[in-house]
Symmetry: C2
Subunit: 223 residues, 2 copies
Amino acid sequence: MSNVATARSISRTLPDVERTPTLTERRKAATQLEIAKAAAVRFAEHGADQVTAESIAAAAGVSLRTFYRYFRTKEDAVGPLLAVGAVTWQAALAASAPGDPTAVFPELIARVLTPVDDAEREALRWTHGLLRTAADDPALQTVWHRVNHDSETRLRAIIAELAGDGADPFEVRLLAAAATDAIRLGLEQWAAGDEDPDGSAGVPAALAGRAFAQLSSGISLGA
Amino acid sequence: MSNVATARSISRTLPDVERTPTLTERRKAATQLEIAKAAAVRFAEHGADQVTAESIAAAAGVSLRTFYRYFRTKEDAVGPLLAVGAVTWQAALAASAPGDPTAVFPELIARVLTPVDDAEREALRWTHGLLRTAADDPALQTVWHRVNHDSETRLRAIIAELAGDGADPFEVRLLAAAATDAIRLGLEQWAAGDEDPDGSAGVPAALAGRAFAQLSSGISLGA
DNA sequence: GACATGATGACACGTTGTGCCAAACAGGCG
DNA sequence: CGCCTGTTTGGCACAACGTGTCATCATGTC
């Protein structure tokens, strides 16, 4: 397998077929997460540009060179913690029935922002922390933007695929943006407050759901 | 006057009061534009990360050190070319009557994307070129995202100010995002095609206007 | 156990971005 | 005019970033 940094986006590539990841792959994924968490706590503590790539690498127990094999830039290190949700819900969307997917979005959005176990609660807590740090850290905002842009781009391809050739490309663009923004704005508003830092009270899901309803109400994929 | 790079965003700060800029200030603005254009043509030719900051500085006739006094990073150099429109239409919005500004958006959006003289046509041509370059250049995409994010952030403040204390903060957030996205998506779709590279046929204005109508139809600033 | 494949670490190197100081410059004021 | 003051600029040094390259080491296969 080619190394992680060559993937076209920050997040891991979607597997072509459903297969059990090999041991080495799981090790790599674990290392990647290890680095990501090490980076996140240090960024939160000192601000992203006061933290050296070397210190992150050291904390994660890898060499500097290896760090840069996992991530293109220092800031990208926290990418997986921010992108983990997007990959899964988009995979579910891609597997859904052909046709206008607008109707299935609310459910998928609610699902990805409502944690059902400890792992998902922890993931949302990382997101919450990172977004709070990013609020006054331009370097981290850049990562957040890239994650969202990657998400929007992937989403556009998926929607176009589902909707078929008849769909107006601009309408597809609008829908992809509306869905991505709904999640982004919901998460940002949630992170700006102090309540429900692990999402178990449903705050991010509720905000994002409302946002999607309002942003998408004027959009319809013509045939 | 403090130098340009200390401004909180890529674009120049909005003047507190209406005043004629002094000679030195106009010189600085001219130099900034000079650097921006030099950067834009080089980025388009070789790709952003094949161009050194030094070569941009040399082309613009300033030292490397001075280059970094005008821009925080190499990529930011093209920021003014992308942000010039946003600053002006937001200034107009800020000067409009208090209350729900939703109704005035379509006019302002049409105005900023419809060139009325050679200067504005040239500005749109720069935007067109940069967005086409950015399509397959991650480093430039980052600048574009930052410009849009800065725009959305400023817009949120302006809308909150106009709407007063009664407005729902999340609704304000949605409206700011809808307007910013409408312009962004309109410009991106326009730049993806080959027609109307200076916007005089009204393509970007039409696309963005349509986008705003659709994205904002479900939003209303409650009192 | 030998072998291929791919991950890791160490080193060198060009580039980025900043702190610091000295020279050039502009704009009042006596 | 000459002086003074504050600002812009350039040169230098330097830490950090990110990449190419190669040797080393682990994993899984035959």
